[in-house]
Symmetry: D2
Subunit: 383 residues, 4 copies
């Protein structure tokens, strides 16, 4: 039986690259570069095959995936040559995309939650799926205002009954997934399942969850480099990060609330690895000209033996969708395997993929990778 | 009983920083920043205390350490304030420095080897030392010309009898150390103990040895960053490294033979970590203006999902002596502990410190650190 | 007769470097590096000699210059060796510093203006000065709130009579200088003389003025590099500038109003040189760790023949005081010469020194330099 | 009447971009970005129109331009969309390309020179051209071995009679051009017309000539930035340049002789602008992975007021053909205009385009641009 992958933001750049890329790899017209689950180190893991993934999703926009893919190919993100081979696959995904939810819609909250849940159940039934993993790859939301109703499942239920709008869209999707026992993974810094009431819901239904905020660029480098300073006993004095983002993600982050959410999720890494508590500001700026690309500049000032001050600087020029999409596919396969083998609740073994992981404070990339490999390769074979 | 630390190149910048720094830390006027052996992760290891180290060495130049230290303080490498506190210690080390060996001296090889060995034995006796660790921190030598006499201990002995000059200076020091069963560590890319005849000698006497070429800058970064690309399945296409070096080390590397030795030791890391076999040239250029500093620029081109090409660039501005000196102290303590606990032959547990380690092909920094910590913290307490 | 140089912010880093540096150069213990007026190209200009400058100033803090200079020497800005030679000079300047004005003081505005003016007149009389040039090197102020009384000299006089606080501190100093016919130069992005009422005042008294915001780092580079793109017909698409500042200047810019003033003065350059109207955000962030230093990273994306996109990036690591101080000395000499030769009003010939120059829209560095040289070398010899 | 543009290396990347680009601009399917002669500052100059240029050339390879253009489009150098519009133009240029000359061919030197000359004369006659400008855009040659026969035209003639091979290929092309009074421009660091015997030939026939080595990247930046340091009296201590080149040009420079020629032409700029005589090494390395692109990193260490040391670093990522091709078109138009208006000998007014210009020591970019504009806009209108 196949695994359902339900993408929130299914018509965005990342999701379109997921759909096109999964099809291209399955069709043999693209290599597996970027897919962690295709590494030799994970060759022995009992994971769903690429061809066992069925993709659907929610979105609030209506541009066809075929059109989106053309735009991405024009921008150098998708190889033009591969498009012809995957257009039919994109059409099939398109047919499975349902209207999403916005922060200002009229619909009663209870109706929204029921509608989203019904979409998931219908997706499962229609495609005869073993299980479903909901993955949020939509634009970053503003940090949610705290509300007492978020504190427990009972309080939340009462608020829903009274139609109090206490859940941001990402949490509505999380609610729909968790209430059905489906997996929920947040690849963004949005709130998603990060509310006590939703954690309680996950505990009740046993749904797996992981997140948050995919680690694809500057923070990935931090988690690779900071252990070097720590293990060499070099004292990091300051680590100033500047991120220039184009595209939809960059534009979304011009909203101060969304920016705060993003900066917050990016801040966890250094604090967890370095004992020096360096001054480590993270600046994020929108630069339309970059399109689907992002560039970051990190300036690291550190102290060595006898107080000598030295410097490391790096610039990273990456394509957001090309970096994120394979990890989304990896997460679908890994969370699908976890469900298949009876896992429940947070999946700290997937910390390798996130800026601010659920269920662990381990941020060192190598240790996260070792844990992932150990876990995945010791999963029992499919029952 | 104390451990003897015998520095080859004892009046150079690195050695002077070792002597001044060890004294400053022991006197409490400098922090332990940069000393791996002072990390909490190694707090439980049964290592010789900083105060148990007695420093001596060989050199071919005669400038007093006090003067050398003033120059380094002027160049910003040593803190002026600490000098007053350590001048007496520097004088004591000075008094233990003996004339070294050059590649073109008149002395018969047999006499050279005997003289160097006698210096070590006298150092041990005079200071009532438990053991001695010889550490080469002299300028890089040219790669040695191969000679049949280097192939076995018997052949070597016959060549020595005939006064064939088949050993470069670094190997003379290694011969003196290993023949006495003392430890030999090469912090440079010079030949040192890397000859079959000398390996045989080490096996015979049970001397510990480690090397080669301390990993302090651009290669350190490679060993931290390359696993990130490997573990994320990102294909590194090219990794072009440019190193600008001032100071004596930079000048020594204007010799083509020495440059070849250095480039060779730097080349091992990427090949061992990345399966992609990227085009990875290493360029090293002397720039007098940098003085005791070095700057490197690495340009890394890699491929992600669906063949998208991306880039990472970094610049590293480091002070060679400040980076190397604490590691030399660490190596003295760790090799001293190994001797104390009966280790023999190569010490692959010390790979963390080297560009081209003895006895292992593991180049990933985190794994090297884990192995070091495991080994050091499971050494039995002092008998 | 000597020229008086009256520094607003006379105890700050820049002013202290001006006072120490001018004394050191005059005493022959420092070279003239950084002083534009000491270039061969200006050798023929009839300028006041370095030894003809007498320095005084206003400040609101009381730390002695001697102490300030020690701190700067400790931070690597002033050479320790030169301090001994200039301490007496610093004491003499110290004795000429008078209390400044803050934005929230009790004193009536009319009294403030009269007091500042009296300080200047007394400075002139006490030192038998030919003329006085007031130069603002204090921390950046917030952009001033517009007020109708700033629109004309009559309106301003009436507001002063009513004690309406319509002038920010920088404009109080400017008022004091201009009312006496002394020169006023703003080396900061503060309001200073940039109010219609004060321009009218300058016209009335014939005082020379120039500014604003000394061009010392990232903007200097823009004015050197942007003409290259323009003259080669390369289309700049975006020019994203990130500035990390430590020190008092960086801290002052954490105030949003001050930041807005700074960003505004920095924005003029590219717009004036490039016809492409690129997206050119300027970001400024405080990073305490940098101390007296500043680092900027500029990311420039441009288009060449047939639309090919290319990139230039640079990082600039500069010491603010070392960059600014010699220009302040230059400006004092040049404005002194202008006064001596009967100049009145704005001095567009000094645009070379400013981010946002008075009286001209020429921002190309080479053209600014040519105009400066032509003007200075054609000044008649001293009458 | 039209102007003939004869490209040596007519099937290379630069030449193909010239042919395709000139056609695309003339056809209105590409903008004029990158063409200096299309700047408003040169709008009043009496230059041949784009449509008046007829392109032909020599090459030793036979791949059709159409195919070459496809490869360039695939590599992102030419816009795919424009190709269809220019394929017929490329075919027409193709038909005008004649076999070139290699350094090891059998043909007698006299025959080679006669053949090349005949090709030029036939090109002129067949296309009814007013004049011809030969522009060398072939791969860099090794520096030529000095030979007494290169010292005067008489000596050279005798050597040709004896079939002594004293002229490298670039000089054969130069001889053919100059002997006919056609213009010769060297866009490479090859020898070309830089031999006393050929200067004498140019004087005899009155042929215009210019060169050498187009200034398109790192040296262009030097000529824009070095005046900033000079005019601000900042002392450049060292300026270390590292160039990574892919493509045919990079490969050609792996030959030590060609590398020496290139490094030599790049070295002129800083020495001519800076009086400090900084240590300014230029390193050039081949990196196949870069393809048609080049990346350079410059590390500049300078000293400001009171000896404070500061740093500027930049990286430049450019596409060689996109940078060079429009300048080749500019040079054809400008040299064509010079011929039309009776100029003879070296054209120092074109120094703006070259690393090592003929007839002037002015290397400051802005001054070069001013001279170009003044000259071009004061050319008399066509007689």
């Amino acid at each position: 039986m196949a695994i359902g992958v339900w993408l929130v933001g299914a018509r965005g750049s990342v999701a379109c690259t997921v759909s096109a890329g999964a099809a291209a790899v399955a069709a043999g017209v693209a290599e597996t570069t970027g897919l962690v689950t295709e590494l030799p180190a994970l060759a022995g893991a009992a994971l769903p095959a690429m061809g066992e993934l069925v993709i659907g999703g929610h979105d609030v926009i209506e541009v066809p995936l075929r059109k989106r893919a053309e735009d991405l190919a024009h921008g150098g993100v998708l190889p033009t040559a591969a498009l012809a081979a995957v257009n039919d696959d994109l059409d099939r995904v398109d047919a499975r995309i349902r209207p999403g939810v916005t922060s200002d819609q009229d619909e009663r909250l209870a109706d929204t939650l029921a509608r989203l849940r019904a979409d998931l159940d219908e997706f499962r039934a229609a495609n005869d799926l073993e299980s479903v993993v909901v993955i949020n790859v939509a634009s970053t939301e503003a940090q949610v205002a705290p509300h007492p109703a978020q504190r427990s499942l009972d309080d939340l239920r009462r608020a829903i009954d009274r139609d109090q709008r206490v859940l941001p869209p990402s949490s509505c999707y999380a609610h729909a997934a968790l209430s059905a026992g489906y997996g929920y993974i947040d690849f963004t810094p949005s709130t998603g399942s990060r509310l006590p009431a939703l954690h309680e819901l996950a505990t009740t239904t046993g749904a797996v969850h992981a997140g948050r905020d995919g680690k694809t660029g500057e923070t990935l480098l931090k988690s690779a480099l900071a252990p070097m300073f720590a293990d060499r006993h070099l004292r990091v004095r300051s680590w100033a990060a500047t991120n220039l983002l184009g595209g939809g993600d960059g534009l979304a982050l011009t909203d101060p609330g969304a920016l705060a959410a993003k900066v917050s999720s990016k801040a966890a890494t250094l604090g967890a690895i370095l004992s020096d508590e360096p001054d480590a500001p993270v600046h994020i700026h929108y630069l339309e000209d970059l399109g689907e690309w992002k560039t970051s500049w990190d300036h690291i000032s550190f102290e060595g033996f006898l107080g000598t001050r030295m410097r490391l600087q790096f610039t990273w020029e990456g394509c957001d969708s090309a970096l994120a999409a394979p990890l989304v596919i990896d997460l679908a396969r890994l969370a699908g395997a976890a469900q298949r083998h009876g896992a429940r609740g947070p999946l700290p073994e997937l910390a390798f993929f996130f800026k601010d992981p659920d269920g662990t404070t381990e941020h060192r990339l190598s240790r996260q990778f070792d844990r992932l490999c150990h876990w995945a390769t010791t999963l029992p074979s499919r029952p």
